[in-house]
């Protein structure tokens, strides 16, 4: 039987090396499994419990602890906490991913233009980025919410804008370092178009730190979404969201601790998983930074 011989490490491409180092990192792999588990369970929530359970009120069954009928118990209005937490996770996770996606795209465009074009364009764009970064991001998001109002999509827009400046900075500094590299010059010399240079040469080499920043920011963003929900500035009840669930059960948590502990643990485990992945990616892209 012919078996594919394992390639020695010295023959790995730089991307294969990143993958190899990432897979070797146990915490990072644990993070991947935790995150995939949480993501799949929340995405396939309808397989476990129908959406009606999220808003259905059973006053007879109110404030019941976890049991076989209600896995996570019920709240003050007799709503099934399991259903609320499951569907709430969809909001928290999908919003978090959407925010990172939007901030990533716009940050890449702004930072890319600033780094590539340089000169006055760079100065103007970076002054705006500086101004946005001078304001603590939570406060900037609140200012945008003041203008737009409450709601899931408005929260996504507010938190994305609050993060764009960070991505723009990271992308710009990546571009600036790479722009003067000899292989970029070589690519230009043999007639590669700007577009091709960016896609084929700059992007694969500069994406590392940006992906790391995106992953680590995702954790922070998930925390922000839930904090906004808790303060009543984010996703509003009865739409479930982990922070909102804790906020609406605030008065009952003392005597019915599961109402606070379960959604809180969900936030914590998700953020922890994301941070594990982010730390793992950072070490995989830049093994020298590892201690």
């Amino acid at each position: 039987m012919l078996r594919k011989k394992k390639k020695p490490l010295s023959e790995y491409s730089s991307w294969e090396l990143v993958g190899y180092r990432f897979r070797k990192n146990k915490l990072a792999m644990l993070g991947v499994f935790m995150f995939m588990f949480i993501l799949l369970v929340t995405l396939f929530a309808p397989l476990f419990v129908p959406y009606e359970k999220v808003i259905e009120q059973n006053v007879v069954d109110k404030l019941q602890g976890p049991s076989s009928k209600y896995i996570f118990g019920t709240d003050e209005l007799g709503r099934d906490l399991f259903a609320r937490v499951l569907y709430g996770g969809r909001v928290s996770l999908l919003c978090g991913l959407a925010i990172i996606g939007i901030a990533f795209v716009f940050g890449a465009i702004i930072g890319g233009i600033a780094g590539f074009v340089g000169g006055k364009v760079d100065t103007i764009l970076m002054r705006i980025v500086d101004a946005l970064m001078a304001v603590p991001s939570a406060l900037l998001a609140m200012a945008i919410i003041t203008a737009l109002g409450n709601g899931v999509w408005k929260l996504v827009i507010a938190l994305s804008i609050a993060q764009v400046s960070r991505f723009a900075r990271t992308v710009r500094s990546s571009v600036l370092t790479l722009r003067n590299m000899e292989y970029i010059e070589a690519a230009k010399c043999y007639g590669s178009s700007s577009f091709r240079t960016i896609i084929k040469h700059i992007l694969p080499n500069g994406i590392g730190p940006i992906v790391v920043a995106a992953t680590l920011t995702l954790g922070a963003v998930i925390l922000s979404i839930s904090s906004m929900g808790y303060l009543g500035l984010g996703v509003a009840s009865p739409t479930p969201e982990w922070g909102t669930i804790i906020s609406e059960n605030k008065v009952n948590i003392r005597y019915y601790p599961y109402l606070g502990i379960i959604p809180g643990l969900c936030i914590m485990l998700t953020v922890m998983a994301v941070n594990f992945i982010g730390d793992g990616l950072r070490d995989a892209f830049d093994p020298k930074s590892k201690n």
């Binding site: 101004a131 304001v135 406060l139 009543g232 948590i253 502990i261 914590m268 201690n291």
Partner: protein
Amino acid sequence: MNWLKYALKRLLMLIPVIIAVTFVLFVILSFAPGDVARIILGDDATQEQVAALRHEMGLDQPLLVRYVNYMIDVLHFDFGTSWISGYDILPEFARRLPYTLLVTTLSVLFAVGVGIPLGIASAIKQHSLLDYGSTFLVMLLASMPAFWLGTLCQILFCLTLRWLPVSGVGSWQHYILPSIILGASTLATMIRMSRTSMLDVIKMDYIRTARAKGASEQKILYHHAMRNSLIPVVTQIGISFAGGIGGAVVTENIFAIPGIGAMLINAVKGRDVPVVMGTIIFVTIIVGVINLIVDLICAVVDPRIDFAA
């Protein structure tokens, strides 16, 4: 005198940033819907009354004119009045700010006081039980939402065990739990940064040299390693302070502290544009000044930093 020049230069550099920040905020907040004049006067007011008030408030002017007028008022220390409650913003802010600054400062002190020694100790005793314990603590604290930790601690320590007052201000005990909760995520950052930084420094050649010439471990630690390892950590303190003021909004909400957090949340909910605007400008200035102070402290710790540059 070099540092004085540097400080003045940095303060002057803050001016364009503030102008840019106010402009960006002004543009963002101009998207707030609803007719303010209508909200203030109520539904009974006639169209003429609303128009008159809009004119009086200058709302019928173009954005740029309104912005310039606003900035002229700001230069005269007039931040306007709340659209909803009618209070003067500047005195109200000045009354509330000390609470926020106190809680934020205490939280940073807590994070620095506990985090740096713990981080350094776990770097020196790498792979020990202490090291693993503090790494685990960092993982926990970095992924816990502050409002959750705060609510649970409030229930445990204030309501059930009755060790600390539940909420409000008055005695020093009132500030213990809010400061710890607000400082929790900063603590994680401090432990991680001082550990990493110390691990980097103790691998340096000059530490080996110090050891080779026979310096005591204590001297190596305090004289050679600590000062150098603290520089990135001190820079982080400034960044943490900025984050702390943002986080104070949540902590003040949990513990009913009458700081700027409550003022800001009510303003955001009521779309009280001048209050949101004023509060954020103030906080931005405070954060800018604190970052300046931190940079000056860095220069004291690290004489290699040249002010002239």
